[in-house]
């Protein structure tokens, strides 16, 4: 019964939304602010990756919020799962030798790759979030490989905080020196397609990378720690 009702009303809503999307042309040229972002993105930011320019500069405030959201999730998670052995009837299983060996080999490379991604966020696809996630995936690998693996929560927390403060602090620097919060033009913008370019974007993205890496690692650690270790 519930299924029928659900399907019925979902169909109605779906039909309305379909009727909407039927009116939206697919794959047609865009107009509006994006034209500005594309056309003047390099001029104003020097970063090759226009998405990054938007994410960190034009809409940097969103990203600050985004970072906050992730921080919030990490905090909330550790708040909710604090000293919780909720899943102690589930045991972590012993991992295979292959996994452990692969982890030992891959982990440094993953870290390096993650760092690469966020350092080059303004030049290539990727950025702080992506790099941070990659780093966290490495940490997850460690958790999978070693039952008794622990992360240093203090360190993670400190990294997280410092990175966050850096981001917001950069914003305030902009406010002080360029009369605008998160202004990018505090330092020289540099040259197009160079590593040291795009003003403060790389710095922000490095901070974000650290922060996301630390937070996601913390998330994983918090969740895993609810299970029984041995």
């Amino acid at each position: 019964m519930r299924k029928i009702v659900a399907i019925f009303f979902l169909t109605i809503v779906g039909l309305y939304m379909l009727s909407l999307f039927a009116q939206i042309p697919f794959g047609k040229p865009y107009k509006g602010v994006s034209e500005h972002y594309v056309e003047r993105g390099i001029v104003e930011n020097r970063g090759s990756n226009l998405v990054t320019s938007i994410v960190v500069n034009y809409r940097g405030f969103d990203t600050l919020g985004e970072v906050t959201v992730l921080f919030l999730a990490a905090t909330g998670l550790s708040f909710l799962l604090f000293s919780c052995k909720c899943l102690r009837e589930f045991k972590r299983i012993r991992s295979s030798l292959v996994l452990r060996t692969a982890t030992d080999t891959l982990f440094p490379l993953i870290l390096l790759f993650g760092a690469y991604i966020f350092i080059h966020g303004h030049l290539t696809p990727g950025g702080g979030f992506q790099g941070g996630s990659v780093i966290a995936s490495g940490v997850m690998l460690l958790f999978l490989a070693y039952r008794s693996f622990h992360v240093n929560h203090k360190a993670l927390s400190t990294i997280e905080s410092l990175a966050g403060i850096t981001f917001a602090g950069i914003g305030l620097v902009g406010l002080i020196y360029a009369k605008s919060f998160l202004a990018n033009s505090v330092i020289s913008l540099g040259q197009w397609n160079k590593l040291f370019s795009a003003g403060l974007i790389p710095f922000i993205y490095i901070a974000v990378g650290f922060k996301v890496g630390a937070e996601l690692s913390g998330l994983i650690s918090d969740m895993i720690s609810t299970t029984k270790e041995d």
Binding site: Y30, D62, A73
Partner: protein, 121 residues
């Protein structure tokens, strides 16, 4: 167009799960599917046929003799930027939901909705 339809379908599959499934984890999975659908939808909104990604690593994307990019050659970057944010937010929500479910499990040793109907009327 098929992208729109497919993403919408994803959204509604996710919603269906939230509306019908009695298992809390399945509901969370449904929400994630819904998120994915939304993200795909956003991306497909920004797509323009025959254009390249908004990463200006080649000189020929510029208008001649300047650093101004030729708009007619690049897809819309803004939806992609928005999706980035949306994804992270989706992750955060999923993480919160999962942690709540973990706690709920520890309270009742169950993750069925029928065991969590104490607050009503």
């Amino acid at each position: 167009m098929v992208f729109f339809a497919a993403s919408l379908l994803l959204i509604f599959i996710g919603l269906y799960a939230a509306l019908v499934k009695r298992n809390l984890i399945k509901i969370i999975i449904g929400l994630s599917i819904m998120d994915t659908g939304v993200n795909m939808l956003i991306i497909s909104l920004g797509f323009v046929k025959g254009r390249t990604a908004p990463i200006i690593s080649l000189k020929d994307l510029f208008k001649k003799g300047s650093l101004l990019v030729d708009v007619s050659k690049v897809v819309d970057p803004l939806p992609q930027a928005l999706v980035l944010t949306a994804i992270v937010i989706g992750v955060a929500v999923t993480a919160m939901a999962l942690s709540v479910v973990i706690r709920m499990y520890s309270v009742k040793k169950s993750i069925e909705i029928d065991d969590f109907k104490e607050l009503k009327w």
